[in-house]
Symmetry: C2
Subunit: 323 residues, 2 copies
Amino acid sequence: MVIAPLEELKQDIEKVEAELQSVVEQRAGALRSAAEMMFCTGGKRLRPALVILVAKLFGAPKSGIYRIAAAIEMIHGASLIHDDVIDSTEVRRGAPTMNAIKGNQFSVLLGDFLLCQALLAVSELGRVDLLQVISQGVADMTQGQILEAQFQGDVTVSEETYMEVVDGKTSALMAAGCKLAALYSDATPAQVQAASDFGRNLGHAFQIVDDILDIWGDPAVLGKPVGSDLQEQKYTLPFLMSYGSSAEDEREEVHKLLANGSYPGEHIPELVKWMDRHQGRARASERATQYTLAAQSALEVLPVSKARDDLAQLVDFLVERQK
Amino acid sequence: MVIAPLEELKQDIEKVEAELQSVVEQRAGALRSAAEMMFCTGGKRLRPALVILVAKLFGAPKSGIYRIAAAIEMIHGASLIHDDVIDSTEVRRGAPTMNAIKGNQFSVLLGDFLLCQALLAVSELGRVDLLQVISQGVADMTQGQILEAQFQGDVTVSEETYMEVVDGKTSALMAAGCKLAALYSDATPAQVQAASDFGRNLGHAFQIVDDILDIWGDPAVLGKPVGSDLQEQKYTLPFLMSYGSSAEDEREEVHKLLANGSYPGEHIPELVKWMDRHQGRARASERATQYTLAAQSALEVLPVSKARDDLAQLVDFLVERQK
């Protein structure tokens, strides 16, 4: 699918790629080849695009914005690499993961390296406020991941706790990226707050849509089997909402389905039927829509501009992809 | 063994502990208990002591120095946790490791979290120069660890490459800690450079002494079996020097000893005998002494003070412990 705002950012994204490339080129040996492998596989570059569009709300961006966008992408990459080590994931979006190719040892270190490199890149812009935002964003992200690990396998997690996990693991970095872009563009404090709120609500919506697609999406598009989260004992919003409205005997049935099965994922179709009965998809989707509306209303505080229209369109696209 | 300069720093170190504690208290749940576990097991706090002593070269330290010292200790802790995941180490200094207690998943994330928290703590001091030094230090440290991983199991590594590994994995953080302390104490550029050189050379000496103790030390003092590095296929300076001066047939013999053995570590006594024949210990020890002399001569550029005498004494202690 072609997303118009992302297509139009091609030239900007090329500058981000050049920043990523310069990090790669400073290094030698295994580090270089791994970083190359990582950055050349591409990815949507959704986070860099967000950073650049938010900066464009305030006029033509200063050149440091590409460094900030690259830093956010490096942190995202580092977290994916560590995630895959943690979950022993072998395939992501149809391609083998770093740990599958290079082993856990190397992957843990590469993640650490990318994290530091991202902070170093931002520190070179010489502004303490930017560094505080990015460091806080990464610390919050990590805390969200720890919370997720802590509740993995627990079907009784509340929706509030689940949204706390989402807030950390997904939204914190998006909020930080948007906040950084506004700060770096010398926005007013109210605009900086609105940019951060926009990123946070978009992150919430984005993650819920991801959760829905993991269950009801097209495996060919996802590049992974349906129900991966369930197989990893990650119970996401559609599951938790359905569990919340299930009677005791139905819950017992769900426990049994989760505990048994002669091969991994055997009972996923039955679990999906159960969630369908409880309108898990529709209810989660409605929640995602609430967050996209909140993201859209945060945009209203920000300068009227083409960038603002593009951001609004990007939000719509993220909801549409699951319908 | 009582080290006078460290004993006298007791009150300062308590302030560092309070900084570490405040990081713990901001968090809840599993993160809190793990951080508590980590910081309560103590450790020598050698790196915080170095930071504080370097600051004291320039008079009574400002209160932020305890935050810097705590940040360096957190980064050190994070690197140990990730190291133990990577090497699947179960016991460190006589106590079970974080991965042995909490699993790899949690340990990877805890390391990430501590890293970010350390950078965040320094960012709160509001000085970009400090953040650049610490981010660069961590990036260099990680690169050294990656280099080490890359050459693990390779007996033909040159001494130069080995020292490059040491420079990254051990010395970079010590150099960064000393440099930060001088920068934060408003030292002149020449003094900042001298403090950094001091830390770097001390790090080199410290690591070589560690390597020697791993082979010839007292396992009761070390809290781990003799020859752990060899068992992990980490070939350190005494080994590499001995290999360098071995004839082809002796090398063949070494290859055989490394490849065979009906239980782990079976051939370590024979390998030690081989290194003894090549004076591996004495030659590595001499190299360590060269670095301690370089550290001492870096001190000469720094202000005459009790702190300077203490730093000199600390250097001597580090060499003495392996004699």
